[in-house]
Symmetry: C2
Subunit: 254 residues, 2 copies
DNA sequence: CGATTCATTGACCGGGATCAAGAACCGTGG
DNA sequence: CCACGGTTCTTGATCCCGGTCAATGAATCG
């Protein structure tokens, strides 16, 4: 069974057997279980390791002077947290868990070795950071030009798709262990207004929520509400090889 | 005289003489003058070349279904436009000029050769994309948690700093050839409200505007209004070697 | 089973949007 | 040199989306 990191990156490329074995090895050791709301890396620090989310849910966030928190990105299973440590002297934001999460550490030293000797892996990591950039740009559009309703629909659709990408779900149900306050901090809205928009999405039978389990009842409808276009995720292999396993996982959604 | 690309990247590293010569050569050929509001690369396309802004002003933007435009980033002289072409199959956004601009093309083939053989240059490009990511994250905070007034102050302060980084100005005056509608598209506000906020910044003697020439009358005051913190720009060398030429250019601002 | 967090509802408020009209600033050509 | 048509900037009046405040349930957890 391939690691989630591989499953994620296979949306970009097909790895050689050696690369695959190496990545599987790296993501099966130095695991640590974090609780909810624990920091993995803090702003201003420099970590010797890079981290990968294997289960649960984490986020990039920053605390502002006025006490508010802005979540800039969700990190779902399979996502590298901090590949910037290879270049930058210190983090410019925090990375923390939202729910209990299993996190894997890979030593920066070992990674640097790999990046020099395994071009296939290097390219995949580069793709991953470019996808992150695309996601960030989409969030800017969200906050700049979409109203609260579409913004939340977008967020839900994206998370559904990203979870399907790595195969941690295979239908429209997914574990999304966030509070409405978390969604508020991610969308730039207030918890009160998030609540009202979620109610609307439920009234319209687009989604259903039972505890931490969310269901997208009407993917096409939600997609429309979100004005969603998946091109920013650059699922290149899904386009080139629509019959690949990776592409199958997101079928009907992109 | 070093090219603006080098001046930008020297905030991260000091190049070897060979790397410097190579970069200077690459940025002194295949130049093309664009007019205002011309596209350099379009969404959905794949360009064989990567582009670098040498003068003028460009931006990353996307047009939405409802006809609005969202500018996700300004590109100032020295900025690479589309290093993603080495990895991604197609652009997920447009890059276009806002004012007449001199743009340099570097063939992707040549760049790939360099990236394989010149680690110093490769790392500098990687830093550059990570800085871009930091800028994007800061914009998300902007739109999510700052009010219109601080948001515009932030934008102006950042542009001042980025222009000083590459030495195209050396005081508080800079050429910023944008309309108020452009600023509206970048901040997610309406032109009317941008106008009112600019008036307020002028009333408070923080800035002055004559045509396309902007002046920051009170950098410290503007910085405070913007709640600006430069850590997201990762001007690493300015910290390590505060007396370096690169660091001198942004002295007093970071 | 009490305590604390989280979801929900209602009343009210305000920052920024919207609409509309006029003024200042172009580049252009006669 | 001036008349012009088109941007761009400016101002005022009005509206509404989403924020704020506050109180009540519901759920989760030592």
């Amino acid at each position: 069974m391939d690691s989630l990191l591989i499953k994620r990156m296979e949306h970009y490329t097909r790895f050689s057997d050696e690369d695959r074995a190496l990545l599987n090895e790296l993501t099966s050791q130095r695991l640590r279980q974090y609780g909810a709301r624990e920091d993995i890396v803090r702003e201003g620090e420099h970590s010797p390791d890079m981290h990968i989310v294997l289960s649960g849910l984490a986020c990039r966030y920053k605390l502002l002077e006025n006490g508010t928190r802005q979540i800039m990105a969700f990190l779902v299973p399979g996502d590298p947290c901090d590949s910037e440590i290879f270049i930058l002297k210190e983090m410019d934001h925090n990375i923390g868990t939202l729910a209990p999460s299993l996190i894997c550490s890979i030593s920066g030293k070992k990674m640097r070795e790999i990046l020099l000797n395994r071009p296939g892996i290097t390219l995949a990591f580069w793709w991953s950071t470019l996808q992150d950039e695309g996601i960030l740009r989409e969030r800017i559009i969200d906050e700049g030009r979409r109203d609260a309703y579409s913004r939340i629909a977008f967020l839900i659709y994206e998370v559904l798709l990203r979870m399907r990408m790595v195969g941690v779900i295979d239908d429209q149900n997914f574990d999304f262990p966030v509070s409405q306050a978390d969604i508020a901090d991610a969308t730039g809205l207030t918890p009160v207004h998030v609540n009202r928009m979620l109610q609307r999405l439920r009234d319209e039978k687009l989604i259903a929520i039972q505890g931490k389990t969310w269901t997208v009842l009407d993917p096409a409808g939600l997609r429309k509400a979100a004005q969603f276009n998946a091109n920013y995720l650059h699922l290149d292999r899904a386009k080139d090889e629509p019959e690949s396993e990776a592409a199958e996982r997101v079928k009907g959604l992109i």
